[in-house]
Assembly symmetry: C2
Homo-oligomer: 338 residues x 2
């Protein structure tokens, strides 16, 4: 029962991550103030936290964030110039050599480096000027859940420090607890989709990261081919896959991206797609079956409760398929890629 | 027959794109010399050309390249600071408002702007200090082929200008002609995979872009759910989808990324996956059925002939499924996203 236990630990973990990292986040903010842009290195789940940082630090802090291609630093050993960059590595284990190599190069080029990791004593942390310790506790399940939302909380706390504000995350543990109360409805909707073999997972803006993470959880746990898209990218080609009963999952919060997502979902519905939605606006409920989260959460923080509902759905889809969420096929907890 | 005609025009188009843009590429190089990094805005096929630029400009020119999230500039209207950035928009039509908004903001912030487009008189070109005109001729097929390889050629010519070299692309039109000669074998291998409903498409390094573009072509034309991955990201979770007969497509060239791709393909083969490979190293042929391109092409230019073979395979898979490559479902030639 590791996965389900860890899913339910999240309100507490997020509160702890936010609390413990106020000081380190202020240090990151001070370093960022002297940078023109940020470069983030991450893979898998952590890469989705990087996508979230692109939106949060970009819209709220005016910091341009690029997700780097770690193989420039490792496989090709031809790292680019990092002039002006804040260099950030995100890795739950702090061990993947390609991610470590980016921070090592950042230090070599005398750029400020930050590690966001659940292992404060790890190779990644060793090359960091500031370590954001997720303090999520040991994560036993192969599929990352609490370390993901802790990474989002860390990104959010850094954003708060950059604006000079504080307290924005105070309500998030309660929003996450409320999200966990969607458990039974998530189980019901997952049971309806038990025969799913593939699906598209859509989001835009802040919740593009949620769509990518939701798809990854489904893929890791159920072996369903779950392909995530920004709704805008979906229109630039992949929408061609739509046919009657094609499962389309989508996540959206109240905010500027909502209209766009609803418009795409309307097209999906007209094409006969089978919809599963996560959101906090009642209009989504008119388009398809909706798993709801806190309607009062600010859009930029909505990926935290939204991701939790995605985890619940993925967990129940796994059970509905007769699989074991704690024994995903072909995966190990720590993946070391070079 | 637009699609097949345009696929075959590519040797000529690439030669023309490279020839015509020597001057503009030198102008881009001069602008880049005064920048700390580059920010690229693109969607769909053009986004894959952006991925290629990340590797080429990064490894060969030391220029750090980030792919931006256009919705920061459009949907959210909260553009980040672009201090130090060369701002590049890639769009075949030059019309997508979200991509245009990034160049408009670049100009607003007095940063140098570059448009890579097949429409020299377009909104995107209007906001560009330098226009790289792909001169690919009108592309009638909905699925972009010649404009994609022309975009790659443009990125490569800019890289050459940044190194101060020239002539690296001279052999590419011949490599592409040789790639086109794989037509019959591509048809045969596609016929063997006619029942494919989904697949993973793998690549790493320079040819990660090729994997993404190959997947997009298959998805647009055949409605197969084709999901692209860096081989490294594939190991961080999605490898769980593997089961006997699962189709895994992969592309790799001789070079530092090759060992890594072969190692992942061995795991896929052991799991019983059905492989379709594009490459120019005979060792790949020992792992699975191989569509070969010029073994003498430099790795950094290999995505051009490799992409062409991917197009041929996608075209023949479309025919093998009884579909019309010139009438893909649900798509329009110009996609305008905000």
């Amino acid at each position: 029962m590791s996965l389900l236990t860890e899913i339910h630990e999240q309100p507490e973990v997020i509160e702890r991550t936010a609390h413990v990292n106020a000081g380190p986040a202020a240090q990151v903010a001070a370093l960022a103030a002297a940078c023109t842009h940020a470069v983030i290195a991450a893979r898998g789940t952590s890469d989705n936290a990087g996508r979230y940082a692109q939106y949060v630090w970009g819209t709220r802090n005016g910091l341009s964030v690029g997700l780097t291609t770690p193989s420039l630093f490792s496989v090709y050993d031809r790292p680019p110039r990092l002039d002006g960059a804040l260099v950030v590595g995100i890795s739950q284990s702090g061990e993947s050599p390609d991610i470590v190599s980016v921070l090592e190069e950042g230090r070599e080029q005398r750029r400020p480096t930050v590690a966001i990791t659940n292992e404060a004593h790890s190779p990644l942390a060793d090359f960091a000027d500031v370590v954001i310790d997720l303090v999520a506790g040991e994560e036993k399940a192969v599929a990352a859940t609490k370390t993901y939302t802790a990474q989002l909380a860390a990104v959010a706390v850094i954003s708060e420090a950059m604006t000079g504000g504080s307290g924005a995350l105070d309500g998030i543990p309660a929003s996450v607890s409320a999200a966990l109360a969607q458990n039974d409805r998530a189980a019901e909707m997952a049971a309806n989709e038990a025969d799913m073999e593939h699906c598209a997972v859509l989001g835009r803006g802040f919740n593009q990261s949620t769509a990518f993470e939701w798809a990854l959880k489904i893929q890791e746990l159920t072996h369903v081919v779950a392909q995530p898209f920004s709704t805008a990218d979906f229109l630039h080609g992949p929408i061609a896959v739509l046919e009657p009963d094609y499962p389309v999952l989508a996540v959206a919060a109240k905010g500027p991206a909502l209209e766009d997502v609803i418009a795409v979902l309307e097209r999906c519905r007209q094409a006969g797609a089978s919809l599963v939605l996560i959101g906090n606006d009642p209009r989504l409920g008119q388009v398809g079956p909706l798993l709801e989260f806190d309607p009062t959460v600010e859009e930029w923080l909505s990926p935290i409760p939204a991701a939790v509902i995605g985890q619940l759905f993925a967990h129940h889809l796994t059970l509905a398929k007769g699989l074991d969420p704690d024994q995903p096929r072909g995966l190990h907890k720590v993946t070391r890629t070079t």
